[in-house]
Amino acid sequence: MSRPNPRRAWLVARTEFRRTWRSLRGSTRGIILLLGAGLMVPLYGLAIGGMALFGGSAVVTADPATLRLAATGVVGGLLALVTFIVLQRTIKVNGNPDAADGLLTTAPYEDILAGLLAAEAARLFAVLAVPLLALAVGLAVGTGLPVLGVVVFATTVVVATAGVLLGYAGGLGAKLVAARSEFVARHRAGIGAGSSLLFVVVWVAASGASGVQLALLRAATQSPLSWPGELLLLAVPTVAADPLAAAVAAVVLVGGLPLGGLVCLWLADRVWYVDPVQPDHDFSADERTLSDRLLQGWVSTATRVVAQKSWLRAKRAPFTVQFAITPFFFLAFQLQTVLLERTVPPTIPLFAGLASAAAAGAAFTLNPLGGEERVLPLTLTANVSGRTFVSGLVLAGALPGVVLTTLLVVGLGLAAGIGPGPLVAALATSLVATVGAPAIATATGMVFPKFERSSVGDREVVVPSGLAFGLYFLLLGVVVAPGAGTFGLVVSGFGLPFATQIVLTGGVLITLVLTAVGAGSGFLYAANRIGSYRLE
């Protein structure tokens, strides 16, 4: 390990930054991101600066305990946010240098790492600089304490830089584990997708629960995590800050930067030159899998192998169907209710069941042709009829969907304590939707097919078009509306002119009819289109 050469590191950082800029300018998504950031960053800056300015006078008179909470919140929140962003970017995007073979045989890896870290910090501060500066200036003017502004700016910059190093080291550490552990390598994408989903659900749920946030913050103020906040409080004359804690925090933060750099160097040396374990995918022609046993004799061989191919691809590369978990994000708001009110809302079984149905429909069928990627010419010339092919895709979504939907609806229904009538109605509506959704999705996927690849993390994948997604959700919403609506009316205790059983049964039946019509016509439309499809 040697000290990075600043000239080379600067060259790498400049080139990385230039590539990011060009890549953003070169795509519609990038332009939208740039425009969004160009609008939101100054707005955030203005809002934060305004709050700091007008709340500044309160700082000098506020209760020290409240100020300590606020200081810990700012420092801890910034560190957690930056660390998380950099961690997941390191794992997914820039944990390894692009064109690594060329770069690593051109310049020492220490210089490349220093350049990549500098570029990552530059990207981050391109977004953070204005809000952090606004916070510092707002506080300095609002409190009349210029030194507070200087201390706030310096501390937040050092904390954010520490977050970059911490996140990058964490990301490299995760990559090292993935490269060395056969289990993690085999299930890497699944672990990543599961962790991302869990994080987003918990984050959204907790962000709406101020009680949970406050409890976490109070716990943090009782721990060394609050010490960096003491640095800020030192600049407020009306608060008796703990100078020892502040000094320790300053030493740890500033001293931690070179230490973090060394840890990143140590990890990069191992990750960039590692020979990753290559998990074997055992195959035996004689072995009968669970899906073989379930499907043989029930469906044609062609239908079975189309379904099995879909499951195998999803298992080996979950990022290809990662988009399908989107409906579950809507459960985050229900989870907020669970956290805030400590009760399981009676609507959650149906919401979960419909999320499962929507996911089952989206996973394999929302882009039937584009999803075949490079194999499409072979699929089209494989003498498989459109009906057989669509049946296989529908089966791939519906079969696991039925199991998941049943487990979610029954489990959450029992937890929510809803009566047997509404529970059966929720289950019936959800199951009808789960069985019908894949066929509806296939039709929308044929109306709006997509063949272009998009970046998902560090992979290039063909994901369904946004229009197909939108139309699918709209149609699914229409067919489940009667069953879901009547269920909602009953569990919310709405006064009904008929017996609840009649209302619930009526809702389910209408949903059943609508789904049968939608799914049946969707299936036929998709099968005919695929059967007569020609490559352009």
Binding site: T15, D98, A99, D101, G102, T105, T106, P108, Y273
Partner: protein, 245 residues
């Protein structure tokens, strides 16, 4: 005065991936200024050997020296080598010229005259200010070769350099290999295209199951067997299934 060290020397070089042996105790010497044709069927261990010699991966056992430097000393080896992997390492977002300026900057070898002359030689001057993402496979391959040659390396590692090139571009690449070898650069050339090796290589090594099963000048390898035997025949002969021990 001791004789100059060979450009490449390996002693008992071994690489294992779990239970699989990719390179099995390879002993190899390539003298300076020679073109060494490195042949072998897919999975023979050629890429593993090149990755060790270019410091991208560590050997499980044995030693290797490139330009007199141990491959364990990455920084020293990297100074003396140029490498064109099978997939040219280029950034799509940069123009051809920016890519070369970047690599030249990293090498500390900012000789713009050489950049221009190489661009001209490879017929890339007119496209040098276009983004790499718009280049054809052949143009990318040529740009990759130019960036591997920029700093006039002592040892040049080329992995399938003519793959995907049209006949004219392939001719340029072959001429360039001859020229750099004439200028005392050692070329370690891994390819499946046997006529290229026959034309360019001073020495050929055939790797099979991680072992070097044949080595020598192409003419020597085909001598002593029946008339009309080509390097391809020799290759097929030495890489056929070996009987169980």
């Amino acid at each position: 005065m001791s004789p100059p060290s060979p450009a490449i020397r390996t002693d008992g070089l071994t690489k294992r991936y779990g239970d699989a042996v990719a390179v099995a105790g390879l002993d190899l010497t390539v003298d300076r200024g020679r073109v060494f044709g490195f042949l072998g069927p897919n999975g023979a261990g050629k890429t593993s050997t090149i990755r060790i010699l270019t410091t991208l991966t560590e050997p499980t056992a044995g030693t290797a020296y490139v330009a007199g430097q141990a491959v364990s000393d990455r920084a020293s080896v990297v100074e003396h080598i140029g490498f064109l992997p099978e997939e040219p390492p280029l950034y799509d977002e940069l123009t051809g010229r920016e890519q070369l300026e970047y690599i030249a900057g990293l090498r500390g070898h900012e000789d713009w005259g050489r950049v221009e002359s190489l661009l001209d030689r490879f017929d890339l001057t007119d496209d040098a200010d276009r983004r790499v993402e718009t280049y054809s496979k052949g143009m990318k391959q040529k740009l990759g070769l130019v960036q591997a040659l920029l700093h006039e390396p002592e040892v040049l590692f080329l992995d399938e350099p003519t793959s995907g090139l049209d006949p004219r571009a392939a001719r340029t690449v072959r001429d360039t290999i001859s020229d750099v070898a004439a200028a005392d650069t050692t070329v370690f050339l891994s390819t499946h295209i046997l006529p290229v090796v026959e034309e360019l290589a001073d020495t050929v090594g055939v790797l099979y199951d991680g072992d070097l099963v044949a080595e020598g000048p192409p003419a020597e390898l085909t001598d002593g067997v029946e008339a009309g035997t080509t390097l391809e025949d020799v290759f097929l002969e030495v890489t056929s299934e070996r009987p169980e021990a």
